[in-house]
Symmetry: D2
Subunit: 359 residues, 4 copies
C-alpha cells in the first residue's frame, strides 16, 4: 500500500482512525522557509470536526506536533514529521461492524484485498487520514505564497442547492462554506433536514488557485490536469472532477470553447477561462478552477441491506457520529491537495530550463 | 519533462508529431506472455486517422515495429520498445504558426515554460503522442485478459446528441463508436455540420472494464479512482472525469447512493453500481465505469484572435487536417489508458499479502 | 531531501539527533504478517549504543512504539509508523559547534547546500537516523524469513586486525562482533588503545544472506549489485563496497574467477562463489556476500584544524560521546539495509512472470 | 524489469545484443541546451569496439540517430529518443548456447527468473546495453559543462599492473587508457598474453569529476555515495566500488583520515581529499574520486564445466569475439554513469532552497 504523493515535495501519510496517532512525513520541503506549528494548525482547524451543527460532534482536537525538519523556526530541508494523537476515540460503536461490510465504505474491498483489517472507525480508510494532507498542505501554501499563489475553495452545491452569487469574503463566514449567503441558508436547512431523516447529502466543491506561475505541470502523463485528477479523486467520497468548463464544454463548439489570447499589462492572458487555467497540461497563469463531485456521506443511521464476512445477509444501521454532508470539511482538504500538487510542480519546474539561475 | 506512467508496468512515450518517429518503451511487462506485432497493430488501427469521413484525412499508416523485449513470440521481461515512423508529414502548413499561439492549444504554455519548442503539428503536445499509449495498452490488455478482464469504450455523447440505448455490438459498426445506432446517425450528421461550419464538437466518452479482480488500487493516493483521474485527464482534450454515478450522485441522498451488498453464486456483489466499481479506492469486482469530458477540437478553420511571441495581436485561421470531433478516436485511447493502469495495479497487487504464492 | 528507500517495500526515515523523536514509515509491507513490537525491538537492541566499553556510553533507550499498520498482532497492509523519543539528549556540548565545520562530518556540506542546519549532535546527518533503518529491517527480515532467507553480519577487520577464522556462533558473543574469538581479543585491545589516544579506528564489515531465492534483482539499473551499492554506501561512514571476490578478483584471470555450474540435489549451484551470489544483477541462490569499508570515526577528541561559517580558521576538539570504532554497531545496520533491499526485490519479483499464481 | 535510472534526468535503456536495434530515452533534459548528434557520437566512439588490438574485432558502427527532443539544434525539454541499429550481428555462434549456462554470465539467473530468454549474444544482459548509458551521458556532460563540471576516467590497474604516474593527457593516447605510459605498455602486453592464453584480465577503473558544485546529493538514501554505488555496480562486470580513500582508509586512524578544512581564495577547501569529494552524502567541491573493481571477462575460449537447462553437465568453450579485458571500454561507461548521476543531482539541487531564484 503506497501512501505517498508527489515527486520532489512528497508527503507520506500514515495512521488509522482509532489507532494511537496519525501523521504525515513531508520530504523535499526546501530549506530556509520560516514555518511554525501555528501555520499548520491554522489549516488543520479548518478541517476539524465539531465545528458546527452541520458537522459531527466528535471532539478531535487534531493538535499537530512537529517532530523534525524545523530548527529555530526555519525549515532545514530535512523531512518534516507531523503527528497528532487520537483522543476521544470510542471504538465500542464499531465492534458490531467487525465482520460486516458497510455499504458505500471500503470494508469489503479491504477485506477482500488484505484479508485482515482494522475495522474501528474505518481504520486506514477513514477520512481521518486527510489530517496529514491538510497539514502538509499548510507547508505547501507557505512555499507557494513566496511566489504569490493564492488558493481557496468553497461549496458550489450542496444537494440540489447551488451558490449562484460569489463573494469570497462570505465563504468562511457561514458553516457550509458557501460564497452565496442566501444559498448558505438553504444549504444549512437542507443538511439539517437530511440529518433529521437519518440521511445525508452530497455536493460540489470548487477550488481556485490564483497567480499560479505559467508552465507548471509536465507533459505527458504528469500534466497539471492529470495530477489534479489524481489529487482530487484520491480524496475520500470524491467521484468526479472537472477543470474549467468541464462537462459543460462538451456541448459547445470549438469556436466558443477556445479562450482567445490577448495581452494585458505586457502579459499574455486569455479573454475567457473555459480551460480553467491549463493548456496542454501546463498552467496558463489564469485561475486554476477545479470542481469535485462529492458523494453523500455513506454512513447513514437507517437500516441497510448488506452481507458479512461469512457471506451471510445482514441488516445494519451505521451508528456513530458522522457529517450529514462532508462538503464543508472537504473544502480545506481539496485546497490542501491542490497546494501539495502545485508546490511539487513549482519545485519540479526549476529543472525545466538549462539556463535558469540557481544557487 | 516526465513522460512515464505506471510503477511496475511502466510506459514511457517519446516523439513529436512531425519528427522522424514516435514510440514507447514498456518496462515491467512480465515474461512469458505470447505477443505479436499484430496484437499491437490491431489496437493501433482503431486509433488511426483517416478511417472515415468524420476523422482527418491524413494518411498515417501508424505501423508498429517491435525493437526489443519479445523473443520467438514471447515476452522476455525486458523492456519492449515500439516505434512508428512518421510518414505523410506536411510541415509547411505549420510554418505560419511558428511564432503565434493557437487558442486552445499548448503553444503559449510550452513557449513560456521551455522557451523553445517544435511548433510543427503541435510537436510534443500533438495527440500523435497517444500512439504509444495505445500500443502499450494492447500489451496491457493481453496481460489483463489472462485474468479475464474485458475493456471497451464508446461515445456516450457527441455535442448535444446522447446515446440512449446500449448495444455493445453496435459500437464498432458505426464511425462514431455509438452503442445506439439511432443516435449514431444523428451524431454523424452533427459532426459533419460542424465541419461544414469550420467548427468542431466535443462529447462524452465512456469506458467500462468488466471482470476486474477485487482489490486493485492502493490506498491512499494511488486509489483506483485517483489513478483513473490521472490516466484520463492526461489524455489530450479531456477536461473532466467521473466514475459511476459521478456528478449526478451529488444530488442524491446517501441512502439512495449507497450500493447494498448481496451474495450471488457465492460471491459478494452490489445490487446497484453507483460507485462505478470502486470502494475506498479499490476495485469491487463490479464493472468499472468511467466517463470523460472531451472538449471540442481546438483547431477550427475560422478566424481567431490571438497574440504572437512578440506579444503582438494576431488573427489566425488554423488550417491543416483535423478531426471535427476527436471523440471517436479518443475511445481507443481511453480504453488503452484504463488497460495500462489496471495492468500496473494488477501486477502491484501481487505484493499485497505475505502469504500469496509466488514462483 | 529524499529520505526514502525501496519501490514496493519502501521506508522513509525522519528525525534529528537532538530533536524530540526519530522514526520511520514503512509502506508496502504485505498484509497478514504476524508482527510485534518485540520483533522490532530485538533488532534495535543490537544497534543500541552503550552496550559495552567499545561503544559510546550514551544511554539511548531506543524504545520503539508502533503507531499504525498492525492490528491485533498482524500487519494490515497499511503504512507502519514506528517512533522513538529522544531521551538523554545533551545538546550543550554542541553549542560551540554551531558555526564551525567538524572535519569528516557533514557540517560544511549541509551548511553550503541548505544554508540553515540543526547542528546539535549532527542533526539530520547523525547516525541516529539508522534507528529507522534497523526498525524497518526487522520487518523485512520477518517477511524474508517466510521464504527461508537468513541474514547475518560481522566485523571482518577492525583497523589492521583481521578475523581469520569463522564461527558464526562466536559473532554475538564478543563485543566487536568478530567471528574469530582470537581476533576479537586483539580488536578490542586495538579499539581501546585508539580511544585512549583520543583517536578512532575503521574496519571492514561483512554481511551474508543465505537461502536467497534465485532471480532477485532487476536488470538494468536495479541490478542486485547496484542496489546493494546504494543501500550500503548510504550508511554513514561507509566508503566502499564489494561483492564476492570484489577488488581481489580484479587480479585474477577469467578462467579462475568464473564459478562453474553444477547440480546438487536437483538444483543448480556453483562450485565456488567468487561472484558473491549475483550474476547479471540477479541473485544466484548462492550466499550473497558483501563487504563494507568503514572509515574511522570522524569525531576524535584531539585538536583539528578547520574553518567556521565566517570562513575564519579555527582549531576544534570534538568532545561528546562517540564510538571509537563504529564497526560493531554498523553490523546490524548493514544487515538491516540488506534485508530492506532483498525484501523489496522479493516483493517486486512477484511481477516477473505472467503465469505466476497470485491471490 | 526496470531499466530506468534517475529521478529528474532519467534514462531508460532498451534493446538486446542481437535484436534489430538498441536505444535510450532521456526524460528531463532541460530545454535550451544546444545539442547535436555529433556531441553524442563523440562519446559513443570512445565506447565502440574494434578500436584496437585489445578490444573485440566486432564491427559495430554504433551510429546514433536522434528521433525526438531536439529541434533546430536545441533541446525542447521533451524526451530525447536515441537509437542505433544493430549491424554486424552474427547469432550463429550463439546457437549452441541456447540451452546452456555460461559461467560468469547471466544465462542461468535470467532463465531461472524469466523462464524465457533471448540467448543470442547475451540478449538483454549484454554489455551492448551500455550504448544507451554513454549516449545519455553525453547529454549529461553538456548540461554539467554549463556549470564547469569536468569528468574523466582511466585504467588505474589491469590485472596486476598498476599505473603509478598520472598524466591526464596520456590517457586517450594509449589503447588501454592508462595515465602512465610506462604502465600502458605493460598492460597491453599483459592483455595480449591473456588473450593468447584464451583467458582474460580484470582491473581497476578510476573516474574523477572536477569542479562539482558543493551540495549535490541528498541525505539519506540518495546520498551521493549511495547513488554512485548504484550507478557503478549496475555496470556489467563491476564487483566493487570505493570512494576516495575507500578500503585503504579502513586501516587508518580518524585523525589521519579526516580532511581538515581551510580557505583558499575565499572558498572552503580541504587540505587532503581522503573523502573523495563527499561528506555526509553531499559533494564537497573537491574532486569526486571513484574506483571500480572490474572482473576479468567471463567469456574465455577454453573449456569450462557447466550445466544446461535440463540440469545435465556440459563442457563448453565460449567462442565469439570478446574483449580480453573490458577495462579500457569500461572507462567511458563509468564516466557516463557518473555524468548521468551528477546531472540528475544537479537538477534536483535546484529545489533545495526556498529562496533560490528561478525562471
Amino acid at each position: 500500500m503506497s501512501s505517498s504523493f508527489g515527486k520532489i515535495f512528497r508527503l507520506t501519510t500514515w495512521g488509522e482512525s482509532h489507532g494511537p496517532a496519525l501523521g504525515v512525513v513531508v520530504e523535499g520541503c526546501p530549506a530556509g522557509l520560516p514555518l511554525t506549528v501555528e501555520d499548520i494548525q491554522a489549516q488543520l482547524d479548518r478541517r476539524r470536526v465539531g465545528q458546527s451543527k452541520v458537522t459531527t460532534p466528535r471532539n478531535e482536537r487534531d493538535r499537530a506536533e512537529v517532530l523534525s525538519g524545523i530548527f529555530e523556526g526555519v525549515t532545514t530541508g530535512a523531512p518534516i514529521s507531523l503527528i497528532t494523537y487520537n483522543a476521544d476515540v470510542d471504538s465500542s460503536k464499531y465492534e458490531n461492524l467487525r465482520d460486516v461490510f458497510r455499504p458505500g465504505h471500503a470494508d469489503y474491498t479491504y477485506w477482500a484485498k488484505y484479508g485482515h483489517r482494522d475495522h474501528r472507525g474505518g481504520g486506514r480508510s477513514s477520512a481521518r487520514e486527510t489530517w496529514g494532507r491538510v497539514a502538509a498542505g499548510a507547508i505547501a501554501r507557505k512555499i507557494l505564497a513566496t511566489a504569490g499563489v493564492d488558493i481557496f475553495g468553497f461549496c458550489r452545491e450542496i444537494g440540489t442547492i447551488r451558490a449562484e452569487s460569489f463573494d469570497r469574503a462570505e465563504i468562511e463566514r457561514n458553516i457550509v462554506r458557501s460564497p452565496d449567503p442566501v444559498a448558505a441558508e438553504k444549504m444549512i436547512e437542507a443538511v439539517l433536514a437530511a440529518k433529521e431523516a437519518n440521511d445525508s447529502l452530497g455536493g460540489i466543491v470548487e477550488v481556485h488557485a490564483l497567480n499560479v506561475p505559467v508552465g507548471l505541470g509536465e507533459p505527458t502523463f504528469d500534466k497539471l490536469d492529470g495530477l489534479i485528477g489524481q489529487a482530487m479523486l484520491s480524496i475520500p467520497a470524491i467521484k468526479g472532477v472537472e477543470i474549467g468548463g468541464g462537462f459543460d464544454v462538451t456541448k459547445w463548439r470549438g469556436s466558443q470553447a477556445n479562450d482567445s489570447f490577448t495581452v494585458i499589462d505586457g502579459n499574455v492572458h486569455t479573454r475567457s477561462n473555459n480551460a480553467g487555467g491549463t493548456l496542454g497540461g501546463l498552467s496558463t497563469g489564469e485561475p486554476i478552477v477545479v470542481r469535485l463531485a462529492v458523494k453523500p456521506t455513506s454512513s447513514v443511521a437507517q437500516p441497510q441491506q448488506t452481507v458479512d464476512t461469512s457471506l451471510q445477509p445482514r441488516e445494519i444501521v451505521v451508528e456513530g457520529r458522522h457529517d450529514p454532508s462532508v462538503c464543508p470539511r472537504a473544502v480545506p482538504v481539496a485546497e490542501a491537495m491542490l497546494a501539495n500538487l502545485l508546490c511539487d510542480l513549482y519545485l519540479r519546474n526549476r529543472a525545466a530550463r538549462v539556463d535558469w539561475p540557481v544557487g
